[in-house]
Symmetry: C2
């Protein structure tokens, strides 16, 4: 399982845990890093001082193992977050939702490795121009914010592979060792996994959110909010209100009013699955009926499944 | 490349050419069967007598090789089409867009093998109950009519694999040997390929349609018409009219009026890419810049890519 990704980040397995709002605190990030992957703290729901605390706790928990922070660049406090990241000597940053040119040079000056998340091969090319160290190509299947092109992982990974020679990480729809291997066959050298880790014991999400997400059928997440920023949401009261508004042709302004403020906290952190905004990947329906397990078990199973899938391929 | 699919249909490679309206006449179907795959005649745009002619021409072209017919079950003339299929001793039928229980028994009584196309694992289970011989699981990436769940190939194939023990064919987003192998890793035993074959020399589509589809960027096909029957369309005048109507909240009745009648013929067969309805898979953007090639070349490349991908995996 060695690849340019394991080498770049100094990790045992080419498995990165996506930095997800309300899920990816120091507990989840450190658990993934301690299990041989790369854990990311999701700063999208954090103030600079909260992030500092999570970084310090994560470092204590992982000792000398690497970990990283994900920074959505459209966040108003992204400059403050970056300052904390540099002060705390975080070794890796994953940037998303913005231009890879904005911070890559500055982060490199501070000795920090940079990966950038894209949803198209055009942005993968921009990553190469910006000098990032690795590209995450995230398909339509992924939870939360998503690309306007709606390109699925099956189509996006080969496109990103053609567009750039950078180390390539696949994301979206990957929650098993078989899917990991499929992503590798399509041209990836590592995977970023969100959903599977969001629903572990170490995830900061509320148990009610985890239980709801482990009870979804196919079709129970959908991409909505195309008029604002396409977002994959879980069905429920919040989802219904948006879908109803979109079906009657609501304007972006009307949609913003329905969304309100702080609804992901209500849904994911406070666990009000009816009124809050719930974000999870489409692949959740493949996990239906699973228990809320510790990261270590989840990682061990992933690796075993991957090895079995690899052995199975040689019989083809 | 031997699998339950090659054995079931008596073919050399587990590659099926989807039966596509206006594309899949006897020329395309026979070319695929002669190259070692299973060619399907797409009866969705045919009268019973036109289908009979295509079957007879196809038989003459393939000699003793197998071929099949795809029948969308919501077609008003599906009973007539089935009658012709039985009279002409077609060995294989792929049914879609309806219940697998409707025709499977009758087709089996006539000695015809049956595969059914699904977009969810719930329907894959119904296929098993109905006694079909193989299931085609088709993801969100696919062109034309699509499932309401919007489940992508990456998520759908493992779900269908869990749901049924029947021979499983993956469809949607597959236009290369790497994607074929990825589908096999996810649990498929064969692939149904549409887009790649729709754009060959032997496809019955107009050259202007093929050229337009070989010039698409990521995001140039989208799933629209969710209020009627979700359909992946290519951007253009027809697409714009529907998208504009949907954005302002058009009712199903208004949408039906915009769609009109016979627009796929205008777009795909007559080649009026501005006013006609254009249907192709999302994977078309990966073929951008390709020539319109003969099926034999396309098949040879697919098989070579598959073998190279398989050899590459052993290095992982």
């Amino acid at each position: 399982m060695k690849s340019r990704i394991t080498k770049l980040f100094g990790i045992e397995y080419p498995i990165i845990a996506g930095g997800m709002v309300w899920c990816s605190g120091w507990k989840l990030a450190s658990a993934v890093s301690n299990a041989g992957g790369l854990g990311l703290i999701g700063s999208g729901s954090m103030t600079a001082e909260v992030l500092r605390e999570h970084i310090q706790q994560c470092r204590e928990a992982v000792e000398d193992k690497p970990f990283g922070v994900n920074v959505p660049l459209m966040k108003p406090n992204s400059a403050e977050l970056m300052q904390v990241i540099a002060e705390e000597n975080v070794p890796v940053v994953f940037t998303s939702a913005g231009s890879p040119k904005k911070w890559t040079g500055w982060l490199h000056e501070h000795g920090i490795k940079v990966a950038h998340v894209v949803s198209s091969s055009a942005f993968a090319r921009k990553c190469e121009e910006a000098g990032v160290d690795a590209v995450v190509a995230e398909g339509f299947e992924a939870g939360g914010h998503n690309g306007k092109e709606e390109t699925t992982t099956m189509c996006l990974i080969p496109a990103a592979r053609k567009a750039t020679s950078l180390p390539l990480i696949a994301a979206g729809g990957i929650a098993s060792g078989e899917a990991m291997l499929a992503a590798m066959v399509l041209g990836a050298e590592g995977v970023q996994i969100g959903t599977l880790f969001a629903l572990t014991q170490e995830s900061g999400a509320h148990e009610a959110f985890k239980r709801r997400c482990l009870d979804l059928d196919e079709g129970d997440t959908k991409l909505l909010l195309r008029k604002l920023s396409p977002t994959r949401l879980v069905k429920g009261g919040f989802y219904d209100a948006i879908e109803e508004a979109e079906n009657r042709g609501a304007t972006p302004e009307e949609l913003l009013e329905i969304i309100g403020i702080g609804k992901t906290k209500v849904g994911i952190f406070d666990g009000d699955v009816e009124h809050g905004e719930l974000e999870i990947g489409q692949v959740a329906s493949l996990l239906k009926g699973n228990d809320i397990e510790p990261v270590e078990i989840v990682m061990q199973r992933l690796i075993l499944e991957y090895e079995q899938a690899l052995a199975g391929v040689t019989e083809l």
